[in-house]
């Protein structure tokens, strides 16, 4: 098929626009990496765009030596690992149970799940609840309240419903009980789904900050995301004067901003490694306002 003049024009304009889109999307990430590797005081002089002018890993050293950053980092790792394990286990068991046609009262249970998607008690009653359960200011406030997520549950019900009934039946033939069927038959055939679900849940935990900001006062329990937020607010408060954008000490040329950039890089890298795997199963899930029967 021969290309017409219109084809050439459309293609050219489209490629240019898409290149701009790609640049606008990726450059901010790249620039943060550049900032983290540039000397802090030097960066404030401006003019660093595509490459560190005065290369330095001082910000990374500062990050590692600062116990509050390192502590926040490990707190994020801990909540991500523990939270993902618990949440994925419960979500899979729950949504598998709800996916079984023979489950009595199934319709009502699913309705109970769907309702929580549209109705909630709101911020304050939720806070009052957490307070009365004694979860405030504990590590478990990161884990327990968010264990069952409506969106993940519905995606799970959809996925497990797609497993052929004959596979499950063959388990019963061998005299297996529900838990055995789930563990020996369902889990092995669902591993790709469980892996994707785990990544999704893990990214959510890694990124979460509101709970750290409002349900936890103990500094030792603050996560990386929350620590970044407080540092950013400090930087914003002082940014009217570039000199105070926060050189940490005269002996050290890192600034609050470059250490912040370092923290951002450290918190971005895990997400960049896993995110291309996240679209499977969940894009369709986005569209599901309900479970279609």
């Amino acid at each position: 098929m021969k290309k017409t003049r219109e084809d050439y024009i459309v293609d050219t304009v489209n490629y240019i626009l898409l290149t701009i889109v790609a640049f606008i999307t990726l450059y901010p990430f790249y620039y943060i990496v550049v900032c983290s590797f540039n000397d802090g005081v030097d960066l404030m002089r401006g003019g660093v765009y595509f490459w560190p002018r005065k290369f330095s890993i001082a910000s990374y050293k500062q990050f590692i030596q600062d116990s509050s950053w390192i502590n926040a980092f490990f707190m994020s790792v801990a909540r991500t690992v523990v939270g993902t394990l618990i949440s994925v286990t419960v979500t899979c068991i729950f949504s598998y149970g709800l996916s079984r046609k023979k489950l009595m009262f199934r319709k009502y249970y699913i309705l109970a799940v769907v309702i929580t998607m549209y109705f909630s008690g709101g911020l304050i009653p939720y806070y009052v609840l957490l307070r009365n359960l004694g979860l405030l200011n504990t590590f478990w406030v990161y884990i327990i309240p968010g264990t069952v997520n409506t969106f993940f549950t519905i995606t799970g019900i959809n996925f497990f419903s797609s497993i052929p009934e004959s596979i499950i039946e063959s388990g019963y033939m061998d005299g297996a009980k529900e838990l055995q069927v789930f563990w020996r038959i369902i889990v092995p055939v669902s591993l790709p789904f469980i892996a994707t679900l785990s990544l999704f849940v893990a990214v959510g935990h890694w990124n979460s900050w509101l709970d750290s900001a409002y349900y936890v006062r103990d500094r030792r329990l603050h996560t990386l995301a929350y620590k970044m937020m407080t540092t950013l607010n400090k930087i914003m408060a002082s940014s009217s004067d570039a000199n105070t954008a926060g050189q940490i000490s005269t002996a050290n040329t890192t600034t609050n901003f470059t250490v912040q950039a370092t923290a951002m890089v450290i918190s971005m890298v895990p997400i960049m490694c896993v995110y291309p795997f996240l679209q499977k199963y969940f894009v369709q899930g986005l569209m599901l306002g309900s479970v279609k029967e």
């Binding site: 009595m104 009653p125 939720y126 950039a261 894009v283």
Partner: protein, 323 residues
């Protein structure tokens, strides 16, 4: 006598209770999840009654029932508050701007990506485009500080070097720029992710339609207009309904709260404060729990009404609602 018992047993075996006990292990699967929903989703719904009461946080659970009933006192107080008009305006303007600009953006992006023939470049752009969706708003806020800060932001540096401006523009603190920044950042963050849905819809369009159009002499733009767009009408309507349902939260990009909370500051407060952040501050910072619950509840009631309206409209247009 013997046969009487066996009849009874037969009846029992046919009864629902027996069936239920028989599948008790499967029921346990469901109960595990339901327990979490009951505690963390349904109990707070009953907590809403504190909006109608003089509730003190120190009185614990029993205080919810024993505190004095004040009716609509806090609702009236919010509606007559001097900031009421401003808060409602900010919430509506931010939500409307997002619906107008952030809703079409992924559709345009998806069409652009699908029109790019070169498959490596196409995949590169597509994969890059949904990366921002997976980073937290804290990181978006951090990145925007690096780019738009008045003193050291890259954008201000470039504009200064080009001689367009003399002094840095305080993009992140100027009240009149808050809405623009909020909408631009949510487009940047979410367009790529939502484009995936429209790309999937585009790939489902019958290729014969395009070939027939070529035979009829339709150019590229005409094919986009007469085949691609009608072909993804269903996806567009579904996403539009979802957006309308969560209109006050920021539509499908749904980030009004995070944005106002993080990017709001004392300088731009007059445009950045929305109903939800106001409720949050009243409750958490000032300890006015009943008042905050009432404010939050008013927004929820409007939201739920919107969900039902958009669902009814959807049923009328497409014959199929979301629930």
């Amino acid at each position: 006598m013997k046969s009487y018992i066996s009849v009874n047993q037969k009846n029992f075996r046919r009864s629902n209770l027996y069936k239920f006990i028989k599948q008790l292990d499967l029921q346990m699967f469901a109960f595990i999840g339901l327990a979490f929903l009951i505690v963390f989703s349904y109990l707070p719904m009953f907590g809403i009654i504190i909006a109608f009461k003089e509730y003190k946080i120190s009185s614990g659970v029993s205080g919810i029932f024993s505190s004095k009933f004040v009716g609509l006192k806090y609702f009236v107080e919010f509606c007559t508050d001097y900031r009421f008009g401003e808060l409602v305006r900010n919430t509506l303007v931010l939500s409307t701007l997002k619906l107008v600009f952030a809703f079409p953006a992924p559709i345009i992006l998806a069409i652009m990506i699908s029109e790019a023939g070169n498959s490596f470049f196409k995949r590169l752009v597509q994969t890059a485009s949904y990366l921002p969706n997976f980073i937290s708003w804290i990181l978006v806020y951090g990145i925007s500080t690096a780019l738009f800060s008045e003193s050291f932001g890259v954008v201000n540096q470039v504009l200064k070097n080009l001689g367009i401006i003399e002094k840095g523009i305080p993009f992140l603190t100027r009240p009149d720029l808050f809405w623009v920044m909020a909408v631009v950042l949510s487009i940047w963050k979410s367009s790529g992710w939502w484009a995936i849905i429209f790309l999937a819809a585009i790939s489902n369009i019958d290729p014969n339609l395009y070939e027939a159009a070529i035979c009829d002499g339709a150019g590229r733009l005409k094919r986009i207009w007469y085949i691609t767009l009608p072909g993804i009408k269903g996806a567009i309507i579904t996403v539009l309904i979802l957006s309308l349902g969560s209109f006050l939260g920021g539509g499908m990009v749904g980030s009004n709260f995070e944005q106002s909370f993080l990017m709001g500051n004392n300088v731009n407060n007059s445009t950045s404060e929305i109903i939800q952040t106001y409720a949050f501050k009243m409750g958490m910072a000032q300890g006015r729990f009943s008042y905050a619950t009432a404010v939050d509840l008013m927004q929820s009631v409007i939201s739920i009404t919107l969900i039902f309206i958009s669902n009814a409209v959807a049923k009328k247009i497409t014959g199929e609602g979301l629930f």
